[in-house]
Symmetry: C2
Subunit: 794 residues, 2 copies
């Protein structure tokens, strides 16, 4: 393994290097201790089986490398008084980050029972990966963390998200060579084309090549040096190399590389801030090549462990039962010379803490890593300014997302100085008709521009890259460090981040139980270009299942909204942008959509989450209706209103109630979701026993799964998207999926007792209209005029 000493002049003295090594040994000792020991933490007596945990869990392999990085970050933070956080990509190396947090005192500040002495060390060890204790990974419970590191791929996009609009912040980011193989990580290297050296902070990637994953060598570690260098320069970085297996040599090289990197960052920022940042800089990056499981057992039972994949988790197993392993563990732990590292009370020796920063400069205590502490309310303008006038329902049309765009433009303008609001999306902001925001800010772009380009700006706060993963990662990093944002995405392709939103919801759910974690702004999705209006793209772009996915997760952290028109979208957006600690999914169309509610009505409707639209129905409050027509989603709402219109004209004495649902969780039982309706309230809307024809935006069985406990459920008949799609007209899409007005009228006739005979002619008329539709579109390629010209005549 090659050693590339830093070429930086000066550098730390041998004395300082020895102090750093002392800190590193202490961290390594504490990391190994967490994996193995439940007693005798300072090895005051010979190690015995009962000192060993009964279940050995944790990841040793990456821990010494993380400890090395932490030790050296401590040094430069102290020396330069840096405001810094670190994203630990190999976050499954929880023992390392916990060890460092305990050493710098931030762990004890956060969890006072885990004192910085022998008793606390024993507690630190025991609770690691122990039932009722703390997770084995860097997790929300870990001070100083904004990144879990269990599901790999998001370290670098989180780091960029943290750095945006934090010009004084350094975000170090350790990227493991395993994680580097993932798609999301591979895409996120290009984040440097979006980082503005004037208004943003710096990201310092540290690519840690320890050579192996769980069971295999890694791709990047086995590239020839020239190929790796070309790759990193191709990513736009100016790499520095550190490597070896002799600790003191590596400390020297690492200290030099850190100094060089930080000097370059300072120079880049100073130059850009002097001249306005006209060129995209080539930011430094450190490649750290050290053995996996470094300083751990070199061999176990005759097989090499240190420097191989065998060091990934627990290098010595069966320690309670295997005396030779027990002895080997004791030798290993004693190799760190704990007697030099901790005083008689088990407190870290002064030499260990020599370069450890203090107060909020500690990586375990920087407020950026507990972003809610820094969060300010967004300045939300009065919605009245943006609301569309509605003299009567269904008489005018607006594009809801375009109306929202005007509101977002105002928020962008009002945060121009604060710079704490960003809009992200995979090249779809304009396609999703939010382009009004460009009146207030540009699209972030540091690369070259051409005269034909529009709206690109070094300091833009709209973020567009054709990677949903990168958009999501950036936004998570931005929110977790105490800012606000919105992700606008084609509905079908938000599934690309299914697994990322899982992890974010898990994070939110966990932090809700941690009083020291201040609430952060919600992660807000605007899903548009939705299943019903993919005229250009067809079947591949039709999938409304993200809502199903999200509703599987912790209900306390999840909200789903289907505003049916422009004003309800405004009211919904206003709500979600003010909220905290949720994932809010807002599904709304970008195509012209009837305006149903005034702003005041919209606000009241959103506050209730679901309600009767009296003006649309023909029932009165004195009696139960004959049938309930329910809807959620803009297109189903239109079809339900059109069906109600047909029923009013063809069956004027039928008592029809129209119910619209904005907040989908309202359908759930009150004990299953904080927004769930009590049964009495639900029954008051949907009745106990009348037929309910529910036209839903997505997969129909979701409504059944939410409402199966309700009294009316045997009478609930749901229409929705059933995976019948292609490139076709908007109305053909609803016909194909049986959500069209004619089918809904037929459903009513089929389900209201006694109507089948009385309304047979009406039913036939509806069936005929569906046939006419089929004939018409095949000839004309457009929808029936009676459909395209329809307006509400209530």
């Amino acid at each position: 393994m090659s050693v590339t000493p830093s070429s930086a002049p000066g550098g730390p003295s041998d004395e300082e290097i020895r102090a750093l090594d002392t800190h590193w040994r202490a961290a390594n000792y504490l990391a190994a201790g967490q994996i193995y020991l439940m007693a005798n933490p300072l090895l005051r007596e010979p190690l015995r089986p009962e000192h060993i945990k009964p279940r050995l869990l944790g990841h040793w392999g990456t821990s010494p490398g993380l400890n090395l990085v932490h030790t050296h970050l401590n040094r430069v933070i102290s020396a330069r008084d840096l405001d810094a956080v670190c994203v630990w990509g190999p976050g499954h190396g929880g023992p390392a980050v916990l060890a460092n947090s305990w050493l710098d005192g931030s762990y004890t500040d956060t969890y006072p029972d885990v004192t910085r002495d022998e008793a606390g060390m024993a507690r630190l060890f025991r609770r690691f990966s122990f039932p009722g204790g703390v997770p084995s990974h860097v997790a929300p419970e870990t001070p100083g963390s904004i990144h879990e590191g269990g599901e790999l791929g998001y370290a670098l996009s989180h780091a960029y998200g943290a750095a945006f609009d934090n010009p004084g912040l350094l975000v170090a980011c350790v990227i493991g060579d395993g994680e580097a193989e993932t798609g999301p990580l591979a895409a996120s290297w290009h984040g440097n084309k979006f980082l503005d050296p004037v208004h943003d902070g710096a990201v310092l990637p540290i690519l840690h090549l320890n050579g192996y994953k769980i069971a295999n060598p890694t791709v990047l570690a086995r590239l020839p040096e020239g190929e790796l260098d070309a790759l990193l320069r191709g990513y736009g970085h100016d790499p520095l190399y550190v490597g070896g297996n002799d600790p003191l040599t590596v400390h020297h090289a690492m200290a030099g590389a850190m100094d060089t990197a930080l000097d370059r960052i300072t120079a880049i920022q100073q130059e850009a801030r002097a001249d306005g940042g006209t060129r995209r800089p080539h930011w430094p990056l450190i490649v750290l090549r050290t053995p996996k499981g470094w300083t751990g057992p070199a061999e176990v039972d005759g097989l090499p462990v240190e420097g191989t994949w065998r060091a990934h988790q627990v290098p010595l197993d069966q320690v309670r039962d295997n005396p030779s392993h027990l002895r080997q563990l004791e030798d290993w732990l004693r190799s760190y010379r704990p007697e030099e590292l901790f005083d008689d009370h088990g407190r870290p020796a002064a030499r260990v803490l020599d370069r450890v920063p203090e107060g909020t400069r500690r990586l375990g205590a920087n407020p950026h890593a507990n972003g809610g502490l820094l969060l300010r309310d967004l300045p939300m303008p009065p919605l009245e300014r943006y609301a569309v006038p509605v003299d009567k329902p269904g008489a005018t049309l607006h594009e809801p997302t375009r109306v929202l765009g005007d509101l977002l433009a105002r928020v962008m303008a009002d945060t121009a100085e604060r710079r704490d609001f960003r809009l992200v999306g995979p090249d779809e902001t304009a396609s999703n008709r939010l382009q009004a925001v460009y009146t207030a800010t540009g699209k972030a772009w540091q690369a070259d521009t051409l005269p034909v380009d529009e709206h690109l700006a070094h300091d833009g706060r709209v973020m567009e890259i054709l990677s949903e993963h990168t958009c999501q990662g950036w936004l998570e990093g931005y929110l977790l460090t105490g800012r606000h944002g919105l992700f606008s995405c084609y509905e079908a392709f938000v599934h690309i981040v299914d697994s990322m939103v899982n992890q974010h919801i898990k994070w939110l759910r966990t932090t809700r139980a941690l009083p020291w974690r201040a609430p952060i702004a919600s992660l807000n999705y605007l899903l548009t270009s939705h299943v019903w209006r993919q005229d250009h793209n067809g079947f591949s772009h039709q999938d409304p299942g993200f809502v199903d996915h999200v509703l599987n997760k912790s209900p306390e952290a999840v909200r789903v909204y289907f505003p049916p028109d422009a004003n309800t979208l405004l009211a919904t957006a206003d709500h979600v942008l003010r909220s905290r600690d949720y994932v809010n999914v807002v599904v709304a169309g970008k195509q012209p959509c009837f305006d149903w509610l005034t702003l005041d009505q919209a606000r009241a409707h959103c506050a209730r989450g679901a309600g009767i639209w009296e003006w649309a129905g023909t029932d009165d409050s004195s009696r139960e209706p004959d049938v309930v027509l329910a809807c959620a989603g803009d297109v189903p709402t239109q079809e339900v209103l059109a069906a109600a219109d047909l029923l009013r004209r063809h069956l004027p004495d039928l008592r029809v109630r129209v119910v619209n649902v904005v907040d989908l969780a309202r359908l759930m039982p009150a004990e299953e979701h904080p927004h769930g309706m009590p049964d009495a309230e639900f029954d008051a809307l949907f009745t106990h026993d009348r037929p309910v024809i529910f036209a839903y935006h997505g997969y129909p069985w979701l409504i059944h799964r939410l409402a199966y406990r309700r009294a009316v459920h045997p009478q609930l008949h749901v229409r929705g998207y059933k995976e019948s799609g292609t490139t076709t007209t908007p109305f053909d899409m609803v016909v194909r999926n049986d959500v069209d007005r004619y089918r809904l009228v037929m459903d009513v006739i089929d389900r209201v007792p006694g109507l089948a005979v009385r309304a047979a002619a009406v039913r036939q008329e509806m069936a005929d209209r569906r046939t006419r539709h089929h004939d018409w579109i095949r000839e004309h390629g457009t929808d029936l005029p009676e459909v395209t010209d329809w307006t509400w005549q209530g």
Copy 2:
């Protein structure tokens, strides 16, 4: 825009170049015609509004570039008699690929009504993106395609999948600069570290930099040339550059680059096949830099279009209503000189077809792109050889996936010559305990090796890279070209490919309606290291929701299995590996699991999909039971059996029926899924009206959503994972989620009428045991001995 002429000697004559240009013009004409025309296809008369489609849909921007690549692939295929397919990453440019398929006659071979003459041309134009017609993208309906191109990111991994084990095949792969920004694409560049030049075919990536996405410049197109070159060399390629906007110059350069690339590929393969392939080659790659919407309108309404993002979809809109646009369209179409391209009957002129290959050499007719034509049944060994002996249920333990590993090793060995079976996984094959396969083959690896490495081999057919996206893409490409495979994955992280599996299921669903598409092998998932046994990793690794996601999709293409022990896993694996055109999800544990069924019993149970385990219950067939204990999944099955055991001992006269479900879709109504049970059969298993306590592996509401129409549904009480996880013991996981044996017994007591009083003491005992559990694990960190020592005593 720079032009880099090929440096290859020789190259095509000017005459040949002009013939290529004629073909390209024809393809461009046909592409534009599809977007715009519904009549007058040959422009025999001046263009009038009624010739124009009423809805203008399609993507022009990428089409000229795709046409250029197709034209030049035709040339080299003809000249070198190549066996070649092409993956069109920018597959939304459907008009281009359809145009070429019509030109080479493969479209008419596939759809005889679309003749290669004027009438057929009119039909080709009209049906494009027209209701009842064909999708706007390259799609399953497109001859020669294995790739949709609607959701971007998977072109290159599909191409590698197609090339593996096809040593005679060239797989060209066009990568758009938009798609190149996605994570999955960014990761898939490293496929060349896994491509064996001896046993695999060649992949020729063609990176098409047309500069813009929907609304933005692309990252790669704006890299300085040196940075782009470094990046591509860092990816391990030896790039060739072609660019410009003068067609004849670009044709010359492209022909030269194609020749150079293919010469290099031949040299690489010949050398490797002579010496056994000891070095990883640097494969060629072509960078093609041409304007977006090339040859289309330069300006529209005073704004530049050609060469900008405005050319992305339909460059001229409102053509029916805007006479100036209509005239501009006519000028544009006539600029291709259709009178030179087609004869009086509308047939392509001879000069157009000069370099078009014939028969199965045509890209639209290569059987590799209709892989089912080449598919052979897998040689499946007799399961008896691998089955575990079961003298009595629940007396022995095996690790199911390890048992499966022996079977897979045999399949690997028996396909050593045929090379048509691969196992993919993100670095988890051994972690998932399938390592027996290494006795039969190695892990594919072309990079350097070290002495400490194990099981790496140039020609290995186990594929491990830490990218679920790449694993999925490789396997899809491999299956779509007529081979077999299995994807083993941690259960939680298979969500990473949610969106990819969506697209694959959509593909399968569409091909099922296309008689000319031969069935392909199913895509088989083995989900293991599942939610209940993430002792090392905790909450981030706990998510059983992939099943929910998949069950939202087309039921004809989706199957889900929960084999409860080793022998049922064998029987399930045997079934899924023989099946066609499905996505099969098999969820099974890797941890020691009780053996419940003999192989014969397992086969019978799997054939039924769900059944009563008479030996486990206390009811008899003469009467309805008092309660049904149902289970799906290995851990819930164990808890249900343990609960049945407790009930037998504590409440011996209670008639308990135990039902196990292997095939989850059996719970669905027969009319909703091909495997769904008729009501009578369902009721015979679960009763009409007795309490059913169902312990399910995943989110409990899924069972409700599948079974809500059944008579017994009001009595159905489901326990499952409810997002309560952390790093803890296996039994604590079931306790936290209320799926443990004690809770199940309490559920029975709570729900069987009359039992609450009679069995109050038993209930208290169960509650006490849960308390004892909590106390015990917090003290000892391990599960109660009464749990870990439990065996079935039936």
